[in-house]
Symmetry: C2
């Protein structure tokens, strides 16, 4: 980000008044351009115990298998986004179930949300962004050809929970990485008691 999208002036990276981190600031029109994580929404579509996966026809990870998922758009809810991506990538209409995983993907500046979902009929097809779409039994999942760690982790947890007969919400940092430690941050600040 080099130029102001409001007035085309060069941007300066600095901490605005009242803020505590660097932002892209326009010294000409005063605009501050924030960059925040994006949301990826997807589903775990199942039909009679099998899971629907898509073989990617686009980069990154062309040719690898994934759960249907993509960036959440404006003017849609997380649920609608998950339904839309399942339609666009897998040609499948699903009934949406509860949120199953919410993973932080720090390196990609994303949060991934996967909902459980069921197909009423085995009706699906490869969308424009997929080379192939297939239903897989657990033992046939192409574990070594999965596109993203959040997909691998979501599928692993899904089959584990299914074996236990009880699904929970799973959240966290799927990579275990963070550049920012809240405890370090908190250690620098001494709170005081009210009144």
């Amino acid at each position: 980000m080099k130029f102001c999208s409001a007035c085309a002036s060069p941007l300066e990276l600095k901490i605005p008044t009242g803020d505590n981190r660097e932002r892209h600031c326009c010294n000409h029109c005063g605009a501050i351009h924030y960059i925040n994580p994006k949301i990826v929404v997807g589903t775990i579509p199942t039909y009679r115990g099998k899971v629907l996966l898509c073989k990617r026809a686009i980069e990154p990870r062309y040719g690898f298998w994934t759960l249907p998922a993509g960036f959440m758009e404006l003017k849609e809810t997380t649920h609608e986004g998950a339904l839309r991506e399942t339609w666009e990538e897998a040609g499948a209409r699903v009934a949406l179930g509860p949120l199953f995983t919410m993973f932080d993907v720090l390196r990609a500046e994303q949060v991934h949300l996967f909902f459980r979902a069921t197909l009423e009929e085995p009706v699906f097809c490869a969308g424009e962004e997929s080379l192939d779409v297939r239903l897989f039994d657990e033992q046939d999942i192409p574990w070594d050809e999965l596109a993203f760690k959040t997909v691998t982790q979501t599928l692993k947890l899904f089959f584990e929970d299914r074996r236990q007969g009880r699904y929970s919400l799973h959240t966290g940092d799927v990579f275990g990485h963070t550049d920012w430690q809240p405890n370090d941050f908190l250690a620098q600040h001494k709170p005081y008691t009210q009144g």
Copy 2:
């Protein structure tokens, strides 16, 4: 968004090749500038049954009460963001519990996440963005002076669940509004059966 943040050229609103919705496109350098919903992270901090609320010292909703919450930043997880906001706005260190609400706020182009949280000690103070921070019993919650509908709804659900002795995750569109109906979208597209 009028100018390309990469090269300062004027942007055109058009549907890029292979896409299905209008984006801000640069005809000079080829950059496509996507706009996606932002994530707001916050907590429901409790101490001995009371809930910690902050009186806002900033717009929007200056002077109204809110749960500590704010925009998720890059290089932090949703959990870290929720801890950070609770620290910055309420001067409180909390132990984070499970995700409690995930609300779509279409008009604001945001998704709001609230985690349950507990204070070990009644230690807190008004941060720079707060005029006051106080612990409230359920009967003292200033319902008519709450800043945001997602805060009102989160608190209502929290007290309801607490009465029932069982907390669940609650998700959905808190306003019941949407400009985009997935069923309309799906109705225009006829899927076909594989193979």
